[in-house]
Amino acid sequence: MTAPIKHGVQFPAERARTTSFNEASARMRLELLLDAGSFLEFIGPEQREVSPHLKIFDLPEQFDDGIVVGRGRLDGAPVLVAAQEGRFMGGAFGEVHGAKLVGLLRAAREIESIPVLILFDTGGVRLQEANAGELAIAEIMRAVMEARTAGVKVIGLIGGRSGCYGGGGLIAGCCSALAVSEPGRIAVSGPEVIETNRGVEEFDSRDRALVWRTMGGKHRRLLGAADVFTDDTVQGFRDAALRLLDVVGPYGLDKLKAEQIRLADRLRSFGACEDAVDIWTAEGIVHAEDVPELPADQFIALADNIGRTSRDAR
C-alpha cells in the first residue's frame, strides 16, 4: 500500500523509500538514488544541446534531449550515471540522446575504475531520427562492451514507465547485470509491434496480464535475464545497484562463453513453452499461475530459491 503522506521536510532516505521509481522523473530518480547532494550533471539542460531533427517535424525539443548524464556517489563510492526520461518521447534514443550516453561510456572506459549505472526508460529508437538513433544504439553497444573489457561494471536499472524496449533491450543485454522491478519490462519488439506484424492471435497487446508475464520484471528475473528483483521504490533500486556492484566479477572471454552456454541452455529448456506460466512450471514453481499476484518479498524469496542467475555468465 502507498505509504501515508507526510508533508513537510523528509530525509532523503525516507523519500527514497516512499518514492515509486516507476513514477519518478529521471532527475528525481537520480536525486534519490545517489548519495544526497552528490550528483553533478554533464551537458546539462542549460547548455541546450537539443535534437537537430525534431524541429523539422515541428515537434517540441527538450533541453536535455530526454537523458540526464553525470557523476555522483553511491554509498561514498564514485559512479557515472545516465537516466532516460520516459516522459519525453517515450525515452526514445535520438542523435544527441545517444551521443551523451556514448560519451559517458567512453569516459568510463578511459577511467577504467568507476562503474556506470544506466537507468533505462525507453521505447527504443526515436522514429523521427531513425538513422541517427540506430547508429547511436550500435555505438552504445560497442561502448558498453569496450568499457566492460576495460574493467568497468555497467549496471542497468529497469523500472520506468516506458520499459526497456527496442535498442534499449539490446543495450540492456550487453550490461554486466540488470536490476528490475515488477512494472519494468524488457524486450526488443514491443507488444503492439508484435501484434501488428504477427497478428492478434500471436500476441494480444491489450491483454496486459499477458504483456507483463511475457516481458515484465518478474518473468525476466525468473528467466535469469535480470539478476536482481526489487520492489518499486528508488531505495530498492539503490540497494539493488549496490548489491550488483558488489557481486559482478571481471569480464573476459570465459564469461562470454559462459553466457553463450547459458542462453543455449535456456533455449533448450524452454524453447517449446507456449506461455511464461509454462516456463515457470518447468522451473519447478508449484503454483506458477499465482506468480503475478505474489507480493515483492514473497517473490524475491521464490526467485532466490529458483536461482537462475549465473555469476559466471553475462
Partner: protein, 560 residues
C-alpha cells in the same frame, strides 16, 4: 332487447383484449420452437421471426454495461420478409450489431439514451439518413416513456441464469432489466431472455418467471464492458489540483454528504484524495458519505478508510463482485450476497436524493451550457442530465441544498425559497490532446443545425450548473447576478484558452473580491502541493491491496 345488449357487450368486451390475444398468439407461435420456455440457441432467429411483427417496438438490451449479444446476433439474421422496419427503444446502442440492424433494414427507427462506443458510426448513419431518429433521451426519460408512449412489444433481455420455470437471476448487473420487463410484460408484450446457464434453482429471483416467456441459453456469458475503472496511474497532477480545489472549496463549505460522481479522472482523483487530503482537512464523516454511484474501484481506499456509509448503484463493475459481497454494509446486495443494481431507481436517487453532481465534460460555453457532443460523435446523454439537473419537484431540505438556494436567491424569504442542487463541472482548461474545454459556441449547436434537430444535444444546461472547477480556480455561478457576471466568471477560470484570454480583467478581479471566483491561493492551496504522492492509491495494484485482494481487475487494467 336484453339479449341484443348482452351480445353487443360481449363483442365489445372481446375487442378490449386484442393486445392480450395478439400476445398469446405470438407466444403460441414461439412455443412451437420451445421445450417449456427453453429455446435452443440455434433456433433463436426462428424464435424472433415467430414472435416479432414488422414495425414492432423492440427493446434489445442494450444497457450501459451488459449486452444481450446472443439475441442481437439472432435478430440481425432474421428473414426480412418476416421481420422489418422495427422501432428500437433501448437505452444503450453499444454493439456494432445494434447499428447493423439499421444497415440491413431489420430496424428503421431509434429512440435511445447512450451510444458511447458507437458514437461516431451513429452520427454517420444519422447524417446518411439510415436511421430515423425519435430522440436522444436521458435514461430516466426513456424509461418513463416505456410506460407512456414507447412501450415495447418485445423485450430481448440478458440474465446470468434461469431456472426451468423461467425465474431469472440477473447477477450484479441488473441494470435496466426490471424496468424493461415491467413495461413489456404488464402491457401484453413478450419477454425473451438470454442466459449464461440454466440451473435448478436461481441464487435469487430478480425477475419472476411469469414475466418471462422464452429462455435461450447462450454458449458464452453476455458481454459486459468495464466502464468505470480509472487507472490511478493515469491521474495527472493537474487533475489532482482540481480535485483538491473541489474538496476544499465545494465539498467542505457546503458539507456535501449525498452525491453522485462522474466517471472522469478528476472525480477519480477526488475519490483517491479523501483518505489523504480529506483526512488532513478533518472532513471524514462530514462529506461524501452516501453515493448514487457505480462500484468505482477508485473508491475502495475511501471505503476501507471508513469514509463511505452507503452506495446504491446503476450497474456493477467488472472485477468488483467479491469486494461488494464482502462489503454488504456499503452496497445493496441480495439474499445471495451479490450486488443488486437498478438503473431506474439509482437515477431517481441521483435526481432527488443527492445534493451534488460533479463530473467532467468536453465543452463549456459562455453561458455554462456543456456538451460531450462533437460534430462527428453523438455519444448520447446516459444519466448525466438527470444527475446534473436541479430537481424542481424536490421538497425535502438539506444543508447543502438550502445553502446553495440562499446563495442563488438571497432576498426571498427563507421558507419560500427553493434550494438548489450543486451541479459542478470539473476539468482542466486544456483537455485531452490540448483541446480547450471552453468554447464560444458548442459543437452541439452546429450538429443540431446540420441534422435539423429541434433541440441541440446539451448535456447539462447552463442554468443548472452551479460551479465550474479548473486548475485556475472555482467559479461559483450561484453568486452571479446577471449574464455578464456569469460570462466573466466562466472566462475567469478558463485560463489561457481563447475564452479565458478574452476576459475583462477588472470584472474578473471584482468577482474574485466577492468570492465568485476563488483561486487556489484564496483557498490556501499551493498548486505545487498537487503531487501524485497524495493519492491513496497510485496504481490498480494499490487498489487490489487496499481491497485485501478482493478486487480482481480485468486483464486490460493490469501491469503485473
Amino acid at each position: 332487447m336484453l339479449m341484443s345488449i348482452d351480445a353487443e357487450t360481449r363483442t365489445t368486451a372481446a375487442t378490449w383484449q386484442r393486445h392480450r390475444e395478439a400476445r398469446d398468439a405470438r407466444i403460441e407461435a414461439g412455443s412451437r420452437l420451445a421445450r417449456g420456455k427453453i429455446v435452443e440457441a440455434r433456433d433463436a432467429t426462428r424464435l424472433m421471426e415467430a414472435v416479432i411483427r414488422p414495425g414492432d417496438r423492440v427493446c434489445l438490451e442494450g444497457d450501459n454495461q451488459k449486452q444481450a449479444d446472443l439475441l442481437s446476433g439472432a435478430l440481425l439474421a432474421v428473414d426480412l420478409a418476416k421481420v422489418h422496419d422495427l422501432h428500437m427503444v433501448q437505452s444503450g446502442v453499444v454493439l456494432p450489431e445494434h447499428l447493423d440492424l439499421f444497415d440491413h433494414g431489420v430496424a428503421k427507427k431509434l429512440d435511445y439514451a447512450y451510444s458511447g462506443p458507437q458514437s461516431a458510426r451513429i452520427a454517420r448513419m444519422l447524417f446518411g439518413g439510415k436511421i430515423e431518429l425519435g430522440a436522444v433521451h436521458t435514461y430516466l426519460e426513456l424509461f418513463a416513456r416505456y410506460f407512456i408512449d414507447l412501450t415495447p412489444h418485445v423485450a430481448l433481455i440478458a440474465a446470468v441464469s434461469a431456472d426451468r420455470e423461467g425465474n431469472l437471476y440477473t447477477g450484479p448487473n441488473t441494470e435496466d432489466t426490471p424496468t424493461v420487463v415491467e413495461a413489456t410484460a404488464f402491457k401484453d408484450g413478450v419477454v425473451i431472455a438470454q442466459v449464461n446457464e440454466i440451473v435448478d434453482r436461481v441464487p435469487r429471483v430478480d425477475i419472476p418467471a411469469d414475466r418471462v416467456h422464452f429462455i435461450v441459453k447462450s454458449e458464452k456469458p453476455f458481454f459486459v464492458e468495464p466502464l468505470f475503472t480509472r487507472d490511478p496511474a493515469a491521474i495527472t497532477e493537474g487533475q489532482i489540483l482540481t480535485a483538491m480545489l473541489a474538496i476544499k472549496g465545494i465539498y467542505a463549505p457546503y458539507g456535501v454528504q449525498r452525491l453522485n460522481h462522474g466517471i472522469g479522472f478528476s472525480t477519480a482523483a477526488i475519490e483517491l484524495l479523501l483518505p489523504t487530503f480529506g483526512e488532513k482537512l478533518g472532513l471524514k464523516g462530514k462529506i461524501a458519505t452516501h453515493f448514487a454511484l457505480n462500484p468505482h474501484p477508485a473508491l475502495i481506499p475511501a471505503i476501507e478508510a471508513g469514509w463511505v456509509q452507503q452506495i446504491h448503484s446503476f450497474g456493477s463493475e467488472v472485477g468488483m463482485d467479491d469486494y461488494i459481497r464482502a462489503r454488504s454494509d456499503i452496497y445493496f446486495t441480495g439474499p445471495d450476497g451479490s450486488l443488486r443494481s437498478n438503473r431506474a431507481f439509482c437515477q431517481t436517487a441521483g435526481l432527488y436524493a443527492c445534493d451534488m453532481f460533479i463530473g467532467s465534460t468536453l465543452q463549456i460555453d459562455l453561458q455554462g451550457n456543456s456538451s460531450t457532443v462533437t460534430t462527428s460523435r453523438i455519444a448520447g446523454f446516459g444519466g448525466a442530465p438527470n444527475m446534473g439537473a436541479d430537481a424542481r419537484g424536490r421538497r425535502h431540505p438539506s444543508e447543502p441544498w438550502l445553502k446553495a438556494g440562499s446563495e442563488a436567491d438571497p432576498d426571498s424569504p427563507a421558507a419560500l425559497r427553493r434550494g438548489r442542487k450543486l451541479v459542478v463541472q470539473i476539468g482542466e482548461t486544456f483537455g485531452d490532446k490540448n483541446v480547450p474545454l471552453f468554447v464560444e459556441k458548442l459543437d452541439a449547436l452546429e450538429l443540431a443545425e446540420k441534422l435539423k434537430l429541434e433541440l441541440a444535444p446539451i448535456m447539462i444546461y447552463g442554468d443548472d450548473v452551479t460551479h465550474i472547477v479548473t486548475e485556475e480556480g472555482i467559479a461559483n455561478l450561484l453568486l452571479c447576478r446577471n449574464a455578464h457576471e456569469r460570462e466573466q466568471a466562466i472566462r475567469g477560470v478558463a485560463g489561457y484558452t481563447d475564452v479565458g484570454r478574452r476576459r475583462d480583467r477588472n470584472a474578473v478581479e471584482l468577482l474574485r473580491q466577492r468570492g465568485v471566483i476563488r483561486r487556489p491561493e484564496d483557498l490556501g492551496i499551493n498548486p505545487l502541493d498537487a503531487d501524485r504522492s497524495m493519492l491513496a492509491a497510485r496504481s490498480i495494484k494499490d487498489l487490489v491491496r487496499w481491497s485485501g485482494g478482493l478486487y480482481a481487475p480485468p486483464s486490460k487494467f493490469r501491469n503485473w
